[in-house]
């Protein structure tokens, strides 16, 4: 059976056999860095293409169809355009912060990739507080957004950044509580353990009602956290022209844009790991033959399939719903999502203590 685990083990053994341990580690770092950066750019291209196709098909259109076969090189062409475009810094801007902000946002979305388990045994850093690490680091990106909004010296940017700050800080609560539900079920913060605990069934299926509720809340909260419509108030196009990145152009804008899409990927990957079993294949009770067929599908395919399904759902939201208003957005969080998720966590705890889940 095809597995990435063999390859990584092979590389690791070879490195430690031929180099001294320090250098082997350094070489591993370099390999991982190159892999993450290439994944970053590939994800950007793929997700932007996917978004444009999904949008077009939902809107009775064709989508990109001029560059390359069926328009598949459109995003490549766009990237080339953005690279050669002049990256302007406004005269009144705080130049240091202005130029720093996109990098903070981008680095954050790269760092969150560390504890993600892309396939069986294919993980950069299996830290024992993996889920906690993800929630903690993802809140740093709001600093980048606030920085961009403040440093631009533009009223629209400032309004967008402030909206974004209020929004991300509040939605982190219910996202965290939703994650906590699964942590309670699986009894671990480590990503690999959480995935292992779903070998006999995904938490979404065996966690009763609390898991389903927390899954819905998780999807809503991460949509808000990544500033996606219907919660895209930070860049609300028709209100604030482009929100916090109004003044950015060229590659600096592209970094924000890429980071947005990579963030979507990361949160959807977390959702897939927690609720849909990560790389675990879909198994049904004691249908042995069915389960064996499922096992033949590579674990990476399972992981990416689930993640892209969640990404599709989030895109589906975007192209269907109108945008919320800022006070309604906060009402939704504090009056609906937070009480429900607190109550839900209590229920989940009771179920976990009584051992009622499958």
């Amino acid at each position: 059976m095809f597995s990435l685990e063999n390859i990584t083990n092979l590389v690791s053994t070879w490195l430690y056999a031929n180099l001294d341990p320090t250098w082997a580690l350094v070489v591993q770092f370099v390999i991982v860095g190159v892999l993450v950066i290439s994944l970053f750019s590939i994800l950007g291209l793929v997700l932007i293409m996917m978004e444009r196709r999904v949008a077009a098909w939902m809107q009775l259109r064709l989508g990109p169809n001029r560059v390359g076969p069926r328009g598949y090189f459109q995003t490549v062409a766009d990237t080339l355009k953005l690279i050669v475009k002049e990256g302007m810094t406004p005269d009144g801007a705080d130049k240091f912060l202005f130029n720093l902000a996109p990098f903070i946002v981008m680095i954050v979305s790269m760092v969150i990739m560390a504890p993600l388990m892309f396939a069986k045994g294919f993980q950069i850093w299996d830290v024992n507080i993996g889920v906690f690490f993800i929630t903690a680091v993802s809140s740093v990106s709001v600093i980048g957004i606030l920085m961009a909004g403040w440093a631009s010296n533009n009223k629209y940017s400032l309004l967008g950044a402030m909206r974004s700050g209020a929004q991300i800080v509040s939605y982190e609560l219910s996202a965290g509580l939703a994650i906590l539900t699964i942590v309670v079920f699986s009894g671990s913060l480590q990503v690999s353990t959480i995935v292992e605990s779903q070998a006999d069934g995904w938490w979404l299926l065996k966690g009763h009602v609390p898991a389903v509720i927390s899954f819905v809340i998780f999807i809503i909260a991460v949509t808000a956290e990544t500033n996606r419509a219907p919660f895209d108030l930070a860049e609300a196009e028709s209100e604030l022209t482009a929100g916090f990145h109004t003044e950015y152009s060229g590659m600096k804008f592209a970094l924000f844009f890429l980071a947005e899409y990579v963030n979507i990927f990361v949160v959807c990957a977390v959702g897939a790991t927690l609720y849909l079993g990560g790389w675990m294949p879909f198994h049904i009770g004691n249908w042995t033959s069915f389960n064996q067929v499922m096992d033949y599908i590579p674990s990476s395919a399972w992981f990416f399939g689930k993640t892209f399904f969640l990404i599709f759902v989030i895109m589906w939201f975007r192209w269907t719903f109108p945008r919320l208003r800022i006070d309604q957005l906060l009402n939704l969080e504090w009056k609906y999502l937070l009480p429900i998720s607190l109550f839900n966590l209590l229920l989940a705890t009771v179920i976990a203590i009584m051992g009622l889940h499958f």
Partner: protein
């Protein structure tokens, strides 16, 4: 930027919305004073697309100036042309053949439908839903094709001439209009499915931008904007022109006066327009399409005023004639100008995001405001 806020002293910030802004659908410039997200004052600055149509019309003959009015409210250009044609007919007492009257009314209602469809899509886009725009344009395209076939142009038709219409309807016209009506009757339910029932949309619209009945009258609001506040002001009902007194249709009214009421009134109006077309399309009488007119039109000395109901409200044309071939003074009382004046009143105390929704439901067309 900080300096402005400090100088204001109370944390107020002045933001320029427009003239280039995605939500203003043109070159409207609003200077808004906000405190946090709450609007304290909205101050429109106009003139970015002012062409002084009133001055232009003073040097054009009564046949010529009709085409200029298409450029005022370009979404109801037929109805604008209709107003000017009616004016000349009133001044010279020209008899319009019945066939021409029927065609004019059908065209007016098709224009109204097209205008409301575009409004629906654009308003949805203002509040962040992008898909409705394409649904609206799918149906609008059919109307545009019908217009193209009969009038020869898609947007600025110039189909009305004093005394009638420029050409007879195309042989396919009746068939195509019926097809469109059947199609749109099915598709209008999708509008409700996608937007009207949506809880986010309802929360964005209900109780926002409330315009009371007294204020609506005082601000001179007309059209769906005023009807949503409970003011009966449909010129088609009050002062019927052409064959509007022969068709049965409802004046769509609401009492809440908020953005949602304006939205519902416009949706209802689309259904009523379809009803009017249904009643007329099978009964277009045979006969002439243009009444007898002289080659040079010279209205007598005096003042003339005509009012028609465009998609946005009451369009009044006031002409002072000195007996010459060109009007001495012409004034277009455009619906958008008065409706815009109410924006400051209804926007105060609302959130910045609501301003966009309110502008969407007031259905502002900037060339109509600026003329």
């Amino acid at each position: 930027m900080l300096q402005d806020v400090i100088e204001a002293g109370n944390g107020d910030m002045i933001v320029n919305v427009g003239p280039q802004h995605p939500a203003t659908h043109g070159v409207l410039h609003l200077v808004i004073t906000i405190h946090g997200e709450t609007i304290k004052k909205v101050e429109p600055h106009l003139g970015y697309i002012h062409r002084s149509i009133e001055k232009m019309c003073e040097s054009l003959t009564y046949r010529q100036f009709i085409y200029v009015t298409s450029r005022m409210d370009y979404l109801s250009s037929h109805i604008n042309n209709h107003a000017c044609a009616l004016l000349t007919e009133k001044a010279l007492q020209i008899e319009v053949p019945e066939r021409a009257q029927y065609i004019r009314v059908i065209m007016d209602e098709l224009t109204r439908l097209a205008s409301h469809q575009l409004w629906w899509g654009a308003m949805a886009m203002d509040i962040g839903a992008l898909t409705p725009f394409f649904l609206a344009f799918r149906e609008r395209e059919m109307i545009n094709d019908i217009m193209e076939e009969t009038c020869g142009a898609r947007l600025t038709m110039n189909y009305m001439v004093p005394g009638g219409v420029m050409f007879d309807i195309h042989p396919n016209f009746v068939q195509k209009v019926k097809e469109f009506n059947a199609h749109f009757k099915q598709k209008i339910d999708e509008y409700d499915e996608l937007l009207t029932g949506n809880i986010i949309f309802q929360n964005r619209m209900k109780g926002v931008g409330v315009l009371s009945k007294e204020d609506a009258i005082s601000f001179g609001c007309t059209g769906p904007t005023a009807r949503a506040s409970g003011v009966s002001c449909d010129i088609r009902k009050l002062f019927p022109y052409e064959v509007y007194d022969k068709v049965s249709f409802k004046e769509c009214m609401a009492t809440e006066g908020d953005s949602f009421a304006r939205y519902v009134v416009r949706l209802e109006e689309m259904k009523e327009s379809m009803r009017i077309i249904d009643q007329l399309i099978d009964n277009i009488p045979e006969g002439e399409i243009q009444g007898k007119t002289k080659a040079v039109l010279k209205p007598p000395k005096g003042e003339f005023y005509t009012r028609v109901e465009t998609a946005r409200g009451e369009l009044g044309v006031y002409v002072v004639s000195e007996g010459a071939t060109t009007p001495y003074r012409i004034k277009f009382r455009s619906p958008g100008f008065s409706n815009l004046s109410a924006l400051d009143h209804i926007a105060r105390g609302q959130k910045l995001g609501d301003l966009v929704a309110m502008m969407g439901t007031l259905d502002l067309v900037i060339p109509d405001i600026d003329r």
